[in-house]
Structure formats: C-alpha cells, structure tokens
C-alpha cells in the first residue's frame, strides 16, 4: 500500500484495462448459450466485483497482521480503508448479482452457496465496522479490530470450500450447469475476463488509496 501511494503508473494501467474491459466486454462475440444469452457478459462486470472484494479483504488482513507486528498506525488506517472499499465491492457484487439472478434463475435469492458465502463475508466485515465503532480508545480499537479481521477472514476461507459441498451451486460452471467446458476452452472470454479482474481490483485499490490518504492526513492534523 505504501508503494501504491507513491507510484502512479498502476492507475494508468487500471484505466487501460477497464477501457479494454468495457469495449471488449460488450463487443467481442461470446459463446451462445441457453438462458444465459447475452448475460454471459456480466462475467466481466459482476464477477470481478467478487475477486476485487476478496483481494481487498486479503490486503486488509495483511495490513492487520502488519499492524499487530509493528503497531504502526498507518497500517491500521490502510487495513480499515481497504476493508471498507472491499465491503462496497461486495455490495455492488451482491446487488448486480441479484439482478442478474432474477433473469437467469428466476429469483433474486436462490440459496446458492456462492451467494450465501458472499452474504456471510459481508456480514463479517459489517461486524468488523460495528466493532470498530464500539471501541473508544484508538489503540485498543486498532488492535482488537485487527485481531477480529484476521480471525474472521481466516474462518471465511474454509467456508468457501465447505459451502459448495453442502448444496449444488447454480452458478455457471458448477454442478452440471452449462458453461463448465466453455470457461475452460473459450479463450476469448478469458482474454477479457482476466484483464477485467485486474482492472476492477486496481480501481478498488485506487479508491482505497485515496481514502487512506484522507484518513492519514486527518491523523496528522489531529496529532499536530
């Protein structure tokens, strides 16, 4: 995060990737599949929200670990700002996913393990912010919320492996749904999807870096 705050090149990279994503994501021919039809294109807009969320939360946990090891206030600011932007990504993902699910599966919410896992990870980080809000002393808040961040995130990972074993996923590419082979073989989808993931994630880091810049400045102001 320190590095990202200092450098600018990755922002240009992000702009290029996202421009490419929107142009190619809407124009490049996609596999023709039943039910999915054109909505297979949400792969480039909805799915990267989840990847972005996971990457942002991961970065948040890494900074939480850094905070516990060093006690540096900057790490705490990074950690909480990354988590909050990750939470926004999760909300975008869940809203856009619900809309998509309405057309692809017929219901806004249909007990899909990925949907449930997403909802749980949002709950965890909402709880994280409630916890931060309820602690007064700044040092205590940083330390205890870092502990909860690490604890909850590490328990979320087994959940991502466990839930799909309990019920079949409706998501394309799971449990006999169409598109399993297409994800593996269709290189045009991949050629847009991977840049899209990187682009949206970088956008998340960009916003998080602005947010942490604001909160760092505020901290400096209060210390002065």
């Amino acid at each position: 995060m320190d590095y990202l705050l200092k450098k600018d090149w990755w922002k240009w990279f992000c702009i290029a990737l996202l421009t490419y994503t929107i142009v190619a994501g809407l124009l490049v021919p996609v596999p023709r599949l039943n039910i999915l039809n054109e909505t297979i294109r949400v792969l480039h807009f909805h799915v990267p929200m989840w990847f972005g969320m996971i990457f942002l939360f991961m970065a948040s946990v890494i900074h939480a670990v850094k905070y516990l090891r060093s006690g540096n206030n900057n790490s705490d600011a990074f950690s909480s700002e990354l988590a909050s932007i990750g939470l926004y990504f999760g909300v975008f993902g869940i809203l856009s996913g619900m809309l998509w699910a309405r057309f692809a599966w017929g219901e806004f919410w249909s007990n899909d393990p990925k949907q449930n896992a997403a909802a749980i990870s949002l709950l965890i980080y909402l709880a994280y912010f409630v916890l931060r809000g309820s602690l007064q002393d700044q040092q205590q808040r940083s330390r205890i919320s870092a502990v909860y961040n690490i604890f909850a995130f590490s328990l979320m990972i087994p959940l991502l492996f466990i839930l799909p074993r309990m019920t079949d996923s409706l998501h394309p590419g799971n449990g006999g749904n169409p598109a399993l082979s297409i994800y593996d073989t269709n290189s045009t989808l991949k050629a847009v999807f991977y840049p899209a993931v990187i682009g949206w994630t970088l956008l998340g880091f960009w916003i998080a870096s602005i947010a942490s810049r604001i909160s760092l400045t505020k901290q400096k102001l209060e210390d002065a």
Binding site: N37, E38, T39, F92, L95, I214, K218, A224
Partner: protein, 68 residues
C-alpha cells in the same frame, strides 16, 4: 392534449425503428442485453456514491485544516 403528444411520440418512435438507416437495432432485439447494461449501471452508480462519500470526507478535512 396529452393524448396527442403520446400518439406523436409513438409515431415518431415507430418511424425511427422502421427507418432504413442502419442502426444497432438487433442490439436490443434479443438476448437480455439489458441485464448486462443494468448490471453495469448498478456498479457505476455504486462507484459514484462511493466517490461522493470520499468527496465529503475530503471537504470535511479541508474545513478542519482551515479551522486550524
């Protein structure tokens, strides 16, 4: 009066689709592309909301600096 306006609009709309000019008519003709557009709009609206919130925080910070 209102009725005439509506009729006029409808006539205009139907003409525009019947016109022989080449447009991306097929774009909306099939295949739930609107879902994709709605998804993109939701995400964009979300990002704009986020930007407004950040803007608000930055403004607050400005005010605090001025007060000092």
């Amino acid at each position: 009066m209102l009725r005439y306006i509506i009729v006029a609009i409808l006539v205009l709309l139907s003409q525009s689709t019947h016109a022989q000019v080449e447009m991306a008519d097929n774009f909306r003709g099939e295949g739930k592309i609107y879902v994709v557009i709605a998804v993109i709009l939701i995400i964009m609206a979300g990002f704009f909301y986020l930007l407004f919130k950040l803007d608000k925080r930055a403004k607050q910070l400005e005010k605090e600096i001025e007060e000092k």
